[in-house]
């Protein structure tokens, strides 16, 4: 199952990738190599694709690929029991899979990774704000996203409407795969932590004010947690009542306690995919919190999660020769 190979594709990139995904899905389902293929299908709204579980070879035509395949599909891999699963995975999705394998949450032999080099996903909120009316249709043409509504049609360069986490992505190519459906793409981001650095330059008071104003919109729907492949605790600390760790309601202490607790529990475990922020219905700026912790882990321990199977995040391991520096 693990003889990785690259499938040659021709034609316009998006369509070629969709075709390659369907072809591979058909092969896997027909041969019985897997029971289900998790990928993306056409969404019911413009600017959206939807995750889909394809179980029959005749349904593979429903699979698509494009600039709106924004979800991290690794979040579905833990609950599939003894099923053999194939998953369509971007760079970030594969990093989550690596991290889940390392944390013994996913069995490498049960997952067939259909790697797709990613060009970054389009932030539907940025596009919606730039459109002069309700967006009724959107598609990629060349390197542009074409957006249409009642009486308007605008073109936006895809590279300018990417999610912040995608614009800063330095791992767009799958790091682990059973098949790679296209040639790897060139990395576009120069500094993965440019936004974190911007935040670091602010005064503590400014940072506190920003965090406070963002957190006060939190409705504690836990979409950020549910969308995150690495948030898999059987009982989340916010659901624990004996003792209760934080206030239950949407009070400043409850909202901030949740956001801080969530971010800390992902220290050195977050792959910067941005799924939490995309899921948030209140558009809370979340990625920089995890970004800061990831940057700290990189600087202190030289560790980036999800790149090598078997490597555990520094805060999850004990090394007898660990220095005492971290205490000070």
């Amino acid at each position: 199952m693990h003889s990785s190979h690259i499938v040659e594709t021709k034609g316009p990139r998006m369509q070629a990738r969709a075709d390659a995904i369907r072809q591979e899905a058909r092969r896997l389902l027909e041969s019985g190599e897997v029971d289900v293929v998790i990928g993306f299908t056409q969404g019911t709204l413009p600017l959206r694709a939807a995750p889909i579980f394809v179980r029959q070879a005749e349904d593979v035509e429903r699979l698509i690929w494009g600039p709106f395949c924004e979800n991290n599909l690794a979040c579905y891999l833990r609950e599939l029991g003894d099923k053999k699963v194939a998953v369509v995975a971007k760079g970030c999705d594969t990093r989550s899979i690596v991290a889940l394998i390392s944390e013994h949450q996913v069995d490498r032999d049960s997952v067939y990774i259909i790697g797709v080099p990613c060009q970054g996903m389009v932030d539907r909120r940025i596009v919606t704000r730039q459109a002069p009316g309700e967006v009724l249709a959107a598609r990629q043409e060349g390197e542009d996203i074409v957006v249409e509504g009642d009486g308007f049609c605008i073109r936006l360069p895809r590279s300018e409407v990417l999610y912040r986490s995608c614009a800063a992505c330095i791992h767009p190519n799958p790091v682990l795969y059973d098949v790679l459906l296209a040639e790897p793409v060139a990395v576009w981001a120069k500094d993965a932590y440019a936004y974190v650095r911007q935040m670091e330059e602010k005064s503590p008071q400014e940072r506190a004010a920003y965090f406070t104003s963002e957190a006060q919109r939190c409705i504690r729907c836990y979409a950020c947690r549910q969308a995150c492949p690495m948030c898999y605790c059987e009982e989340c600390f916010v659901d624990h009542t004996t003792p209760r760790w934080i206030e239950s309601g949407i009070t400043p202490a409850g909202q901030q306690g949740w956001q801080i607790g969530r971010a800390y529990h992902l220290t050195g475990r977050c792959v910067d995919c941005g799924a939490c922020e995309r899921a948030c219905p209140m558009e809370i700026d979340l990625v920089y919190l995890n970004g800061k912790l990831n940057k700290d882990v990189l600087e202190l321990y030289g560790f980036e999660t999800g790149l090598t199977v078997g490597e555990l995040p520094p805060l999850a391991v004990f090394q007898p020769d660990d220095g005492p520096d971290f205490i000070t």
Binding site: T44, C75, C221, Y222, A227, D239, G249, M282
Partner: protein
């Protein structure tokens, strides 16, 4: 009683209201427009059709202190939450959200129990509605018994006719507002313009779904494997229910110590796995399958049986904001073939 008010005068009218009332209206915080207490009419976002959050928290806050408690030398002292002092205006409610308020009324005001916290705020609030000239592509109010110009539950109703609003008082509370000096007599042309925008709005909405058929399908689908498919991609977050204007589940907890603290009511949702978790460890809705089924069954079957209305007003918030584009319209459309 119908009058008109120019768009210029509307702001003066709201400024006048602010002297006497606490006013909630669609206003922006960061990129989200929701109903918030305003201090000036300029804060109102007029062109937002479906606010990010429904106005339900004006009557039923997401977190509400029911009373404070304190252990003293004389025993336990309870300090009830004060009633709302000022009369309130809920400005700019859309017809779907207004219908949802009526559905919630039936939950919090029953012959057996009156929820004083909800009703205190509800009774002191005047609802000013506004019709939807251009329903969004995610709107489906006419499928569930509503419409872009339905006036149920509202005290005053505005129709945007270009440079002015046609304004209709529907209750005594509404008549009181309409007696303000800012309103003038409506002309025949205004009534005609209002009819035209209403007609145009209806034409934008999709063909209504057949709710009776949907209910019949659901009745037969409690054990259907369809729910496994629906739940496969569901993340199990609380967005669809927390942002639903009809959903009203809550949990009551004590925040504090054994000597002092508060009894608090928080929104809860049937989509969370711990919602039905019993103290014994048993969970009657143990997986996503039972939870997504519950949401659909409750809104389109149980509600119809128990309350005589659909537990959905077609605002489309759950459609717009689901992180995995699990579209309730699609689920309902698939029932026919899935059964």
């Amino acid at each position: 009683m119908k009058k008109r008010i120019t768009k210029e005068d509307v702001n003066k009218f709201i400024a006048w209201l602010l002297k006497e009332y606490t006013v909630y209206a669609p206003a922006g915080v960061a990129n989200c427009v929701s109903f918030r207490e305003i201090t000036s009419p300029v804060e109102i976002v007029w062109d937002c059709l479906v606010t990010r959050q429904p106005p339900k928290d004006v009557f039923f806050p997401q977190t509400e202190v029911l009373f404070n408690y304190e252990k003293t030398a004389d025993g336990l002292e309870l300090h009830p939450t004060e009633a709302v002092e000022r009369e309130r205006i809920l400005w700019g409610v859309r017809p779907c959200d207004a219908r949802a308020v009526l559905i919630q009324d039936a939950v919090f005001d029953t012959p057996d129990a009156r929820d004083v916290y909800y009703l205190d705020k509800r009774e002191k609030t005047t609802l000013v509605g506004i019709g939807c000239n251009k329903p969004l592509s995610t709107c489906f109010c006419t499928s569930v018994g509503g419409g872009p110009f339905k006036k149920e539950g509202l005290d005053l109703f505005l129709t945007d006719i270009g440079e002015a609003y046609l304004v209709e008082a529907l209750t005594d509370k509404g008549k009181r507002l309409l007696s303000a000096e800012y309103f003038e007599k409506a002309a025949k042309a205004d009534l005609k313009a209002a009819r035209a925008v209403e007609k145009a709005a209806l034409a934008r909405l999709p063909e209504p779904m057949n709710i009776e058929t949907i209910k019949q399908h659901l009745d037969e689908m409690i054990d259907s494997p369809f729910w496994d498919e629906v739940q496969a991609t569901c993340l199990g977050c609380g967005i669809c229910t927390f942002l639903c204007p009809v959903c009203h589940c809550f949990d009551i907890v004590d925040e504090g110590t054994t000597t002092c603290g508060q009894r608090v009511r928080n929104w809860d949702t049937c989509q969370f796995c711990i919602y039905t978790l019993e103290a014994s460890g048993h969970n009657p809705r143990p997986t996503g399958r039972e939870r997504v089924r519950q949401r659909l069954m409750d809104k389109f079957d149980y509600y119809v049986v128990n309350q005589g209305v659909v537990g959905c007003v077609g605002c489309g918030r759950c459609v717009q904001l689901c992180p995995v584009n699990l579209d309730i319209r699609r689920i309902l459309a698939e029932l026919e073939t899935a059964k």
